[in-house]
């Protein structure tokens, strides 16, 4: 494309095999006073 460069493809994963809940709760990482969900790893991808 001439005017638009896609840096990253869609990442909001709503497919049927998601939502397993094995990922870390965000407050258990480093925040404790905010809700910082988007930087949490997907446990399935981490495997």
């Amino acid at each position: 494309m001439k005017h638009i460069v896609t840096i990253e493809k869609p990442c909001i994963n709503a497919s049927a095999n998601t939502g397993c809940g094995e990922c870390q709760a965000s407050c258990q990482s480093a925040c404790k006073t905010s809700c910082t969900v988007a930087n949490q790893k997907c446990q399935k991808q981490a495997k």
Binding site: C11, G19, S26, C27, S29, A30, V37
Partner: protein, 444 residues
């Protein structure tokens, strides 16, 4: 929904519902914003042929789900069961520091000072296992006050947790949040072996740390804490840790604190705005917001530049974003899980929706001693997802914060459904900067 913004000299467009990120030229930046709103794009001050090309490209992206995507529907999930998977264990409602901004009221959480007996920790872990269903990965954060003031219970909890892992085929990731003052060589080695992640609370420059985090006898804590933390991190290898600080209205030039921490050799950094009512001298007030946003710009430039070279590389927690993976939609909608999947347990064994609710007795939701859980409070939190908050649903940053912190909403607005606007402003700014840094790092 799209969000168009600039970072450095780049024009960026986030497609909110799909999470795709695009870099565009100046004309496309204007045309796509008008096109998405259904406005007449041909009135814009660009050659008609150029506008037509841009619209054609935008339509092509739309047809492949990368621009102006529809709001997705979350799947039901694999199991459908509601479990508790994370627990914040308040092993000590006491502290050897007297931090001036402490939301835990310098360790007491608005109640008596006290240490959690080992037996209560074991009951808490039993409770966690009993409510964890089929979930394999569980998390226990050893928290306080200052958890190192109760190493007997820390060790008892970890040792019992390891037994439970074998007995129930679970994996318990223990983490600890400490001010570092009580670290000895033996404790450092123990924590480095047992803890999945260690959060070390340090605010930055010596004058900031000493002013905000004095010891119980009123002395500065910088030298003592830093010495111990450096030793811990040096011996930690590649295991996770964070140096986590707080900034207040007394250090709105907080980039200097991040720089200071990086210059000390720490690479994993987090610095968060203080959470305090407006009548506190340290609270970040409405009149400080512009200054904070400018400082985040300064910080983003510093972080971006630092990340270019291995010798200065760092990770700043609030600028971390994973656009190639990251959490699934269901997680982004459910948020942190407070009061549903995540609970805090006091030294007495009382259960609260999260560590920040401790002491708000109207939010007490049970006891690990009695094995009780108040499902009415739990269902309030279950009904407080991103989809339940209209204001959040219309916000471009919704999938990054998941509707914000329920405790902040409750403490400032008296309602877990009403996000605290000031933290939303900061979150949106940090998200733009995080996306900007990501874009620059991932461009050709």
């Amino acid at each position: 929904m799209i969000h168009a913004f600039q970072f450095h000299d780049y024009y960026l467009i986030l497609d909110v519902e799909s999470g795709a990120l695009h870099s565009v030229d100046e004309a496309a930046f204007a045309v796509i914003q008008a096109w998405e709103k259904g406005w007449d794009v041909y009135g814009l001050p660009y050659p008609e042929r150029q506008i037509r090309e841009i619209v054609q490209e935008a339509e092509e992206l739309k047809n492949t789900g990368r621009l102006a995507a529809e709001e997705p529907t979350p799947p039901a999930g694999e199991s459908g069961e509601t479990v508790i998977k994370s627990m914040c264990l308040h092993v000590a409602h006491d502290c050897n520091l007297r931090c001036r901004y402490c939301f835990a009221d310098t360790g007491e959480f608005h109640g008596p000072r006290g240490l959690m007996p080992p037996e209560v920790a074991r009951k808490a872990l039993d409770f966690l296992i009993a409510h964890s269903g089929h979930r394999k990965h569980l998390e226990v954060d050893l928290f306080g006050g200052e958890p190192l003031m109760n190493m007997e219970t820390v060790r008892a909890a970890v040792s019992y947790g390891r037994e439970l892992e074998k007995r129930f085929d679970k994996q318990i990731n223990f983490t600890i949040t400490t001010n570092g003052l009580g670290l000895t060589d033996e404790i450092i080695d123990y924590l480095n072996e047992q803890m999945h992640n260690i959060v070390l609370s340090l605010d930055g420059r010596p004058e900031v740390q000493d002013a905000m985090r004095p010891t119980a006898n009123g002395k500065g804590s910088y030298d003592l804490c830093l010495q111990n933390m450096k030793k811990l991190v040096e011996r930690r290898g590649d295991k996770e840790y964070y140096i986590r600080g707080t900034f207040t209205r007394k250090n709105l030039d907080f980039t200097q604190d991040v720089k200071h921490l990086r210059n000390l050799g720490f690479q994993q950094l987090s610095l968060e705005p203080v959470v305090l009512p407006d009548d506190s001298p340290y609270a970040i007030l409405e009149e400080d917001v512009t200054r904070v946003l400018e400082e985040y710009d300064t910080l983003a430039d510093y972080v971006f530049q630092s990340r270019q070279k291995p010798e200065t590389w760092l990770n700043f927690f609030h600028f971390m974003v994973d656009l190639s993976g990251g959490p699934c939609l269901k997680k982004r909608i459910a948020g942190c899980g407070a009061g549903v999947e995540y609970v805090a347990v006091t030294p007495e064994g009382d259960i609260y929706p999260c560590h920040q609710f401790v002491g708000h007795t109207e939010m007490k939701m049970g006891s690990v001693i009695a094995g009780e859980l108040n499902e009415a409070i739990r269902s309030q939190f279950q009904g407080c997802t991103l989809l339940d908050k209209e204001e959040c649903r219309a916000c471009w940053a919704k999938y990054f914060c998941s509707g914000g912190c329920a405790a902040n909403a409750y403490i400032y607005n008296g309602d877990i459904h009403k996000p605290y606007a000031r933290t939303c402003t900061f979150l949106r700014k940090r998200t733009e900067l995080a996306l900007g840094i990501y874009a620059l790092e991932h461009m050709e």
